[in-house]
Symmetry: C2
Subunit: 220 residues, 2 copies
Amino acid sequence: YYCIGEISQKGDAWRRRRFHAHRREREREREMAELTVILYMLTISLFTATVSASPCPANGLPLVRNISELPQDNYGRPGLSHITIAGSLMHGLKEVEIWLQTFAPGTRTPIHRHSCEEVFVVLKGSGTLYLASNSHAKSPGKPEEFRIFSNSTFFVPVNDAHQLWNTNEEEDLQVLVIISRPPIKIFMYDDWLVPHTAAKLKFPYLWDEQCYQSTLKDEL
Amino acid sequence: YYCIGEISQKGDAWRRRRFHAHRREREREREMAELTVILYMLTISLFTATVSASPCPANGLPLVRNISELPQDNYGRPGLSHITIAGSLMHGLKEVEIWLQTFAPGTRTPIHRHSCEEVFVVLKGSGTLYLASNSHAKSPGKPEEFRIFSNSTFFVPVNDAHQLWNTNEEEDLQVLVIISRPPIKIFMYDDWLVPHTAAKLKFPYLWDEQCYQSTLKDEL
């Protein structure tokens, strides 16, 4: 027989079990919620950490930046040191971009052209500018040679094929480069006789590749 | 009576006179033509001389130029040394312009704004950038202060009122300045509380005045 008391005891025990089960469920739910919040915050802080460590911050950088603390790399060109001091993909500029570049003795740019304006300020060393001022001919042809030196400045006429060469065997060549309408679109020539129409477009250029990719991702 | 001979002699004399008159006319014409050519060539050579001696040559300059040989002036701002390294009115650039500026201790720019991009590279010394990032308010208001130092870089957001001040009492402040869309159009404020709408346009700016005038003359 079933004593009511027992039943009720049974019932009490059942209710107690249900109550404890409910409490455990609520606890689990609370734990899950807490875990979700923790995971969410972890994700956010990881994301924030990624953004502030990213070489392509565009926003959120300090206004005044120490040039010696900026990202510096050879971007696959041995003997080159390139720093984008202020730029399009890296810092959100639209009209100008400034690079600090150092060429080890004997190193050079590819022969190339671009439709933007480009001004050089030579900070250290010396070298040679090769310039073919015949963008209307079939190919660049034999370039003119110009000696460049510390504290000199020059600009490359729009669309003229050119090459900068550290022809000084003793010393690094350091230049500040200013271009308009960034990011730069470069057409490269294997030699001076390659027809203008056969020059190879390299876009994004080496130092723009990483931030160009993350800009694309941001837009998706 | 009239002898045919005489008539003919008369006629000959008349023809001879006519012939000599014609020859004199032709000589005068030739002389005038020669004089015109000489005057024309004189004008051209004078013009060429003027162009090469002018501070606004735009063309005909050597490609590689020694910065220490470029025109340098304070353009009416005591304690300033300004050199246009490569520019619009002086060198025919259309998209970028580069200045080398040195501020004696205690000297500063006016409070001003412009719609072009502007990047600074601090080459020597230190100082303070005052920046009011509220171009949408009624007036600039109290600016933020940023310490700038040798080997630092910063850019001024488009249309933000700002002022650069050599607050270092010991040392010159030397900066390289890059602007887009030259020649620069500057709006100046007597103080930070002047409404944006009351800022005074100064165009052409001090160092552009001379070459702006000669550009206008060339266009007439």
